[in-house]
């Protein structure tokens, strides 16, 4: 469970989050909002990439300000552009990167990499240079590289924005089938509609927090 208690965040003088109180316990939560509404900042707060200017973010009871390292092990983060997330030149090396950071035994790394490649349909591409993959395959690789670390929660920051319809649907299927809890920040209303709960942000505040139907209707109404 992830809790945000009276969270405020500022970049210099500009306040982007203005008092957010949320408890995220559902398996699928989506966050929508216009550009500059604070949703990407909120996403980055959830795994301690940034800490709030005021208030507290707790992940399974761990404070992101005090236990950032433990929090990052519990919360995986998938970025919008897989090209800035893939570190190693080939597919299997990149999936192994996080596991090597954990200093796991070689056998364990091989086993988990094999399983992750199989899970995301990348086994046939294991020795491929990452830059030769399609956009959808790169995003799958980015997701595999995060999920191989077995986080309890995964935050997706606009995971389908750069993809075509077929790849958007493929990523939506992957997110739908995840056993991990997922928090999806997105403009893609088809993806958002699959969540159990949708939170609408505007100017740094929660303006709707409901089931997908009414929340999306509220979001669309705000967008004019």
């Amino acid at each position: 469970m992830i809790e945000l208690r009276n969270v405020r965040h500022r970049y210099g003088e500009r306040e982007v989050l203005r008092g957010i109180d949320l408890t995220l316990a559902e398996r699928r939560v989506a966050i929508v909002g216009s550009n500059g509404s604070g949703k990407s900042t909120l996403a980055r707060l959830l795994n301690g990439l940034i800490v709030p200017s005021e208030g507290q973010v707790l992940v399974d009871g761990l404070d992101t300000r005090k236990d950032a390292k433990a929090v990052r092990r519990r919360v995986g983060f998938v970025f919008q552009d897989p090209d800035v997330q893939i570190v190693y030149p080939t597919v299997e090396e990149d999936v192994a990167f996080g596991l090597k950071n954990l200093r796991l035994p070689r056998d364990e790394i091989t086993r988990r990499v094999d399983a992750a490649l199989e899970r995301f349909g990348l086994t046939g591409h294991r020795t491929w240079p990452a830059h030769l993959l399609s956009g959808g395959q790169k995003q799958l690789l980015a997701i595999a590289s995060v999920l191989v670390l077995e986080p309890a929660h995964v935050v997706f920051d606009e995971p389908t924005t750069l993809l075509d319809l077929r790849n958007r649907r493929a990523i939506a299927r992957v997110i739908r089938d995840l056993p991990e809890t997922a928090i999806v920040v997105s403009h893609d209303l088809d993806l958002v509609a699959e969540a159990e709960r949708v939170i609408v942000l505007d100017e740094g505040r929660v303006v709707a927090d409901d089931a997908p139907g009414p929340a999306i209707a509220a979001y669309v109404a705000r967008m004019g």
Binding site: F79, I86, V87, T127, P129, H131
Partner: protein, 199 residues
């Protein structure tokens, strides 16, 4: 020139990265002691033989030299003008040999193996404050980001052409710098998010 790994089940691929890097260091030094065009020609043929042994076609070897062709031509012309033909052939052949040998190592060695070897070798410098882990990650990121930056350059060039700008260094460099810095920033976040610990 910085060829990326191509998977094959060849004996060259199977050699440990440390041996290949040590062999490259010895060969790169040794090449300066070979002075005649004939022995250098034989060395080039032997190098192409290694490409064949690695199950890499001659085309792959040629691909490594093609981007350097203008530099090689200038080098050859300068040596021919200021020294003599034989020196021009020898110097140009040495550069080709060095490029092909380095490419052979990168084409047949996974980045992770190379990086692990580098980390082990640099590990002895830890008492002097050298962080082998950071240096090896830098190497991995360099290899990984070359094609990404290449794509970025193509994308910016196309965007400029679409606006009628055919050749302008400034119109290319400014957005390239801005995008690269932004990418570096997000990449830092991604490393942190994936649990990278530089210690």
């Amino acid at each position: 020139m910085l060829g990326l790994y191509l998977h094959r089940e060849s004996p060259v691929h199977a050699l440990p990265a440390g041996w290949k890097l040590a062999g490259l260091a010895v060969a790169a030094t040794g090449v300066f002691f070979v002075t005649g065009p004939a022995p250098l020609g034989a060395a080039l043929l032997a190098c192409l033989g290694l490409f064949a042994l690695a199950w890499l076609p001659a085309r792959t070897a040629a691909d490594q030299l093609r981007p350097l062709l203008p530099i090689l031509l200038v080098l050859f012309a300068a040596q021919a003008a200021f020294a003599d033909w034989e020196t021009a052939v020898v110097v140009t052949a040495r550069v080709c040999l060095l490029v092909l040998l380095s490419a052979l190592v990168t084409l047949t060695t996974r980045a992770s193996e190379m990086i692990e070897t580098l980390e082990r070798v640099l590990g002895v410098l830890r008492p002097l404050g050298v962080n082998a882990g950071k240096l090896s990650l830098m190497l991995a990121l360099t290899i990984r980001l070359i094609p990404v930056l290449f794509d970025l350059v193509q994308e910016i060039r196309m965007a400029q052409r679409a606006r009628g700008v055919e050749r302008s260094a400034l119109a290319l460099l400014v957005p390239l710098l801005v995008k690269t810095l932004r990418m570096a920033d997000t990449l830092g976040d991604a490393l942190e998010a994936r649990g990278y610990d530089p210690r």
